[in-house]
Symmetry: C3
Subunit: 344 residues, 3 copies
């Protein structure tokens, strides 16, 4: 691909030779001759000096470099497009492997691919062009939409509804029982978990992540929400659209999370927590109750700015203690003088 063709593809503007031949795409530290690369943040600009890439994607044209540039409004997006071009998605031959088990009461869409050792239960359906990798289990009555990819050994239990364009990574479990017990007669009695999971279009669910079915009703993950590896989503949780749930986050039962929420890695939400749209919860934070739109850190989570101040002082607690001690000593002296004065 010539640089001018790439530039046209991403609505860019070329600065340099538009006829340069691009043969690959690489990160800025690894890029070689023929590669296109990009600068993700100003901090990476330093790598440009030694960079052997043939072209760099930029947001603002850089003055003093020798490498050709393509200026675009969103360099990372243009970079994603370059990767797509040079690494086309694998295409799988459609068809149902005779080594899969597909119930004759299941329905498989056109051009779907069902690999060996996949198990598709009664009443389940798999949409057109969807790929079901080996070892995937799809439970009774569950439906998977079109153009989905369900990676190896993922488990989609019964009565789960998955939209179109959803990607489920290896080992993820959708529709496991919620963790619900009631204490009766000296035992934890299991509350049957008979609700559903609804996963809307274009959701991505990470490797070994877990999404529990609702006790009754639905656990719901809104359109375009992306969930990273090893995340726990408990029963009856509702997540809005286009939220980002980073690895190892834990969301307890019945939480409600709005749209465009970011939960950073290892954050935890207690039962029934509610988080307004647009909120950002920092890594390892702990949320109980309600968070209105904002940025939060700490456990319990407080506004990030406040947390920064408190956390800085946490590290200085020994100094604060020393200052308190000094004050006490000085005050003792003053008080003693006063007492002495009175005696006189």
């Amino acid at each position: 691909m010539r640089l001018k063709d790439f530039s046209r593809m991403v609505n860019g503007t070329v600065f340099g030779d538009p006829e340069i031949e691009l043969t690959g795409v690489s990160g800025i530290q690894d890029a070689g001759d023929g590669d296109i690369t990009f600068i993700s943040s100003p901090g990476f600009r330093k790598y440009l000096e030694k960079c052997r890439a043939s072209c760099v994607i930029v947001k603002e044209v850089l003055g003093e470099i020798d490498i050709a540039q393509v200026q675009v409004s969103n360099p990372q997006y243009a970079f994603a497009k370059a990767i797509e071009f040079f690494y086309p998605r694998p295409v799988f031959a459609p068809g149902i492997s005779p080594k899969a088990v597909v119930s004759d009461k299941a329905s498989i869409g056109e051009k779907a691919t069902i690999f060996p050792f996949a198990y598709i239960s009664d009443g389940a359906s798999v949409g057109d062009e969807t790929v079901i990798f080996p070892g995937v289990y799809i439970g009774e009555g569950s439906s998977i939409g079109r153009r989905c990819v369900v990676h190896p050994n993922a488990v989609i239990h019964g009565n789960v509804k998955i939209g179109d364009g959803v990607i489920i990574h290896p080992g993820a479990v959708i529709g496991s029982d919620g963790f619900g017990f009631v204490f009766e007669a000296g035992e934890h009695y299991k509350i049957p978990q008979v609700g559903r999971v609804i996963v809307h279009d274009n959701v991505e669910i990470g490797a070994n992540a877990c999404v529990d079915r609702a006790t009754l009703g639905e656990t719901r993950i809104g359109k375009g929400t992306k969930i990273d590896n090893l995340v726990q989503i408990a029963h009856n949780v509702r997540i809005g659209e286009k939220s980002i749930i980073v690895s190892q986050v834990g969301i307890a039962g019945s939480c409600e999370i709005g749209d465009f929420v970011t939960l950073a890695g290892q954050a935890g939400l207690a039962d029934h927590a509610t988080i307004d749209s647009g909120t950002v919860v920092a890594a390892q934070a702990g949320v109980a109750g309600h968070l209105s739109r904002g940025v939060y850190s700490g456990a319990p989570a407080i506004p990030h700015k406040n947390w920064l101040r408190s956390q800085a002082l946490f590290a200085r607690l020994p100094e604060l203690q020393k200052r308190i001690h000094d004050l006490e000593e000085k005050l003792k002296i003053l008080e003693k003088e006063r007492a002495d004065a009175e005696h006189k």
Copy 2:
């Protein structure tokens, strides 16, 4: 089912028309005509006004509502019973799928169900009426009790003993190697992990949870203990009866945990920690050493009441710092006056 029949089933008392026909069960916000529902906490009472349920299960009779009521001692338990009635457990045809691999040195109980792609090793045994879903691996010499359910893609490695009525959720791993190495000659030398895992009756182990085998001896999970998704239980851990281990908890090697202990989500226990029966450890807490019966929070965990006070002051650290600063300024003035007075 008529209301009077349900009431009899749960030892309740009807307030309203006992002949009402119940056709379903729902959460209070979703309940419609014919549904029975319940109030889990006083906070949910507000939903009753708009609730269209035909009947509500209550602990104490509510005065001013139109809906029929069933009064019981444990509404949540009665609710569980209602769910059981309206959503009977799925029944699986017993038998061994010819698409499973079952060693001829394994023993399979009566009315057990072995799905396709299950693998059952030499010397393993599966008890009566137990269901082994697709993709389950059962290792050499392991035994699974009666009326267990082992969900898809769970792995029960060799030399594991599982009691009766145990539920193992998808992707859970029981009997993986403990994480044990000894540093020798510049390498982490693997200490063979040759012990067992013993899982007693009525335990539940969550999706993608991990229970490591003992180095030597046993990792043990007591009767009726419930373990949520993505929990880590390391080698030689011993957990008592009827404890509750919430999602993403991590329990390091050789910890000893009593009966009726609750470990809330994402809590972590360091090696050899010991926790007395009846103790509650709050979410995200970190435990090292010994905890006697009580409620604990924070990392390191301290009594919850103390933690609440300290944590409240953490958020007020900037204010405390300001007060220290003000004291210093005022004291300076007093000291200066004193010095001035002495000079006179």
Copy 3:
């Protein structure tokens, strides 16, 4: 085995009867007649009184005990050797199960064992003497070295390179997509994850752990590094040699971790964190930015000694607040007296 033979095997010195017959190996609390055991730390010495073992492995000879002793430089290592002797590793019949699916474009080494329900894709290779358990998926073009063990239901996606002597525990996922999106036109647009994962020799990867492939380039795990269960390793992370990553640690994208680093349980690293060789990060700590060699705790991580001091004062915050309050009261009195004095 006689004690003298064991002693020779571990370069030890016998104190006691060298002809004693050893018949087993046990932990100090469980050891019986014929067993060899060891003392892992001085704290365990108390158990020796009631210990019925026939021999104890020690670093320094103990004066007043009846049990025979073997003195060695590294008792835990000698203990590992004893376990190896009494519990020889299981040996699996080599060969490819006809119930596995192995592409005819895949290459399988000599004496490798491929269990039923394993799936090995086009262009994949499995080295000599490697064992692939049931339910394992190996993706296109991936290679597994010699003498590896890939436990049941582990997933090694395409384009992953695994060295020799690597152990991958059940349910682990190597080569899942990195969590990378760019926000464009109101959507989280997926950045294709087309890089590789390189796992060097003698690495161990725990049950249900996840290692994401690089966006471009490589995610790399150095020789002899040991990774525990449920660990998350994101795209483009680089870990050096012989590091120890304990259960439930989360490592975000592009982190660089040196050699001999220890990350204790549930610790978290933010994007692009860098950690020098020999560093220890305590359990539940949170790391952002750079850590030079040392021991760190807390979130954000600070030097462990400082953290200990601050954390101790955290628990005493109510007392500090009280002292500030007392100071304020006393100062008020002094100020009032001064004011009164001036009025006179």
